[in-house]
Amino acid sequence: MYINIEVAIKFLYALLVLNVGFAVAVYAMKIRKLGRVRTERRFEVKLKDYLTYILVHIEGNEPLNAPPFALNKAERQAIQERLNDMIENFTGTARDKCMELCNRLGLAQAHLDRLNKGSYSVKIDAAYHLGCMRVREAVPALLQLLETHKLNSSLFVIARSVAKCARDERDVNEMVRIVLRHNKGFYDLLVDMIKEADIDHGALFAEFIQRDSHEFVKIGLCGLKDYTDPTVASAAYRLIDSPDGAIQSKAAEIYLKSVHFIPRNVVQKLLRHPTDEVRVLALQAIADLRLATYVDVMGNALRDESIRVCDAGAKGLLLLGEGGIAELCGVAAEARGSRQGEYLRMLIEEQIQSLSSQLHDLDRLTRYNSLVYHYEKTFGKRNRIYRVV
């Protein structure tokens, strides 16, 4: 150790220099930020009138003029931020006029230049702003940047910008193709990005689910969550037989939401599906569509091993009129003593309790009477926990 003292002292000097360096860097950043905040605040006042002008005339016929005063770099950034917010928050004419204003202010061109000739961080910054401004001309350059980019958060920033700037479905398709090369299952994120594009999403997703690639099918199913037209239903129906489990459940979900009637063979197939989520959805769909012909099938479902399915079946039967309630009480009585049976009985009693306080509603009144009658019939009059109306 006595030998190493010289080395140690040199190391100490190096450390000292590093320490001072970091401290200076931290203070410099802080002071610069404070200065920026001050200029922004000053600019705020100046900008308010101009922004009011934009907001008032944003849906008018005339194009928006550039601000009458000259802008320095910080001020351009401030206006850029505001315009980004507006383009995101408005739609239709208002959005188009904001985009046109961005062009007129030279912001779009400036960022296009930065995208082509800047360092990496400048490129990403430009990609982000071009996306916000929805500059269609930027798509080729953005796709090129996307092509060679590695998988990290910035990849998604660029991909989202491509979606926002997309001219048509081909651009979106291309973006999805490139991003799927790094596939990590981020389908929800992709769908969210695709929905920012100015294209017919329903058509695109419907097209995706008809492809062979499982990935595209999954993206399509994810995107079609809220679309309920019949063409979707038939495509979804075909996918219920897909080898992939995730696709099966999603397809079943979409199918059940978009049909008004389910054929018996489909009902039986769904109720035999290994995933309990699918069985639950099928039972809920039957109940929602009031398909009273399937009371027997639902009765079978009450004997399902999964308690969730049993519960869904029971709640569904309650909505299927006299027949459903009769079936429910019947199965509950038969299964007396088993775990399912006890659960069903408890559910029935609980329903009776809760319905008895809502008897002003005709629908509920009918249900209550029906339930009470069948309960008494199957379980006997012993437990008077209700009152007859």
């Binding site: 308010k48 009138d49 101009y50 009011t52 002008y53 907001l55 008032v56 005339h57 944003i58 849906e59 008018g60 005339e62 003029n65 601000p67 009458p68 005063f69 505001r82 917010d85 507006m86 995101e88 928050n89 408005f90 739609t91 239709g92 208002a94 959005r95 809220d226």
Partner: protein, 267 residues
């Protein structure tokens, strides 16, 4: 003394009326900017006039300073409200650095903002004179005075500001609130006819606000929900809570205006 001032106003009013009629007679629109201002020498006046006319060739500019009322008047013959508004920005940017501006600029367009009558212009002039001493943003004069009052509750500043500006221009009286509690207090205090609210509000959320408003017996306020959520469950939940209508973001202000009109048309 009072008579002299009144005559001063009347004189200016008539002069402005003359100019405006000259334009509207030809079915052109006419924009007017009024601002409390110190006396300008003729050179400054010429400069200002040049700046105002620079933007648009089809517009002819008349610029004069009304001494008794100390108001600068600019008449843009052929200018729409939009171009007049823009011109006011130019004018403000010109006057402020030279410390000539003594109040707020008021902008109006005929016939967009009001019918060119003597009383309208007189009121316009009054508004300009009364704004002396304020150094705030550019204001509008509008004759449209709907009796409807609206409360907008949204934590997003941009959306609130946008709706406020647009509705005020159409003559609605607009109150703002940033969160649920503020919205409820404002509702109780001002009893607006229509409430526009986001669902995701801090403190008291949108659904609860709607329900609490529904429970108020003293005043019947109709609620329009304005939100970016599109899930059908959320829509039905909003209606169940008592909302009268539902508008999704990104926002179309004309849709919103129509819905307000429809809700307040029925007595």
């Amino acid at each position: 003394m009072a008579i002299v001032i009144r005559n001063g106003i009347q004189e200016t009013t008539l002069r402005l009326l003359q100019y405006v009629h000259a334009a509207t007679a030809r079915s052109a629109s006419c924009g007017v900017i009024l601002a409390p201002c110190a006396k300008l020498n003729s050179k400054t006046l010429e400069l200002a006039k040049g700046l105002l006319g620079k933007n648009d060739d089809s517009v002819s500019v008349r610029l004069f300073h009304d001494d008794p009322n100390q108001v600068l008047c600019a008449v843009l013959d052929g200018g729409t409200l939009a171009s007049t508004h823009y011109a006011s920005l130019v004018l403000k940017d010109f006057l402020q650095p030279q410390h000539l501006l003594q109040g707020q600029l008021i902008v109006s367009g005929f016939p967009e903002s009001a019918k060119p009558t003597e009383s309208a212009i007189a009121a316009f002039l009054q508004q300009a004179i009364q704004s002396r001493g304020n150094d705030e943003a550019i204001q509008f004069f509008t004759a449209a005075h709907a009796e409807t009052s609206v409360l907008i509750a949204d934590p997003d500043d941009l959306v609130r500001e946008f709706i406020k500006i647009r509705l005020e221009l159409k003559g609605y009286r607009v109150y703002e609130a940033k969160d649920g509690q503020e919205a409820y207090d404002a509702f109780v205090r001002t009893a607006p006819d229509v409430v526009i609210t986001e669902l995701n509000l801090p403190i008291l959320d949108g659904y609860q606000l709607i329900r609490t408003i529904g429970r108020q017996e003293s005043h019947d306020g109709k609620v329009i929900v304005l939100t970016d959520k599109q899930l059908p469950e959320i829509r039905s939940r909003a209606y169940e809570s008592g909302a009268a209508d539902y508008v999704t973001k990104p926002l179309s202000i004309s849709e919103l205006e129509w819905k307000i009109k429809r809700l307040t048309a029925n007595p």
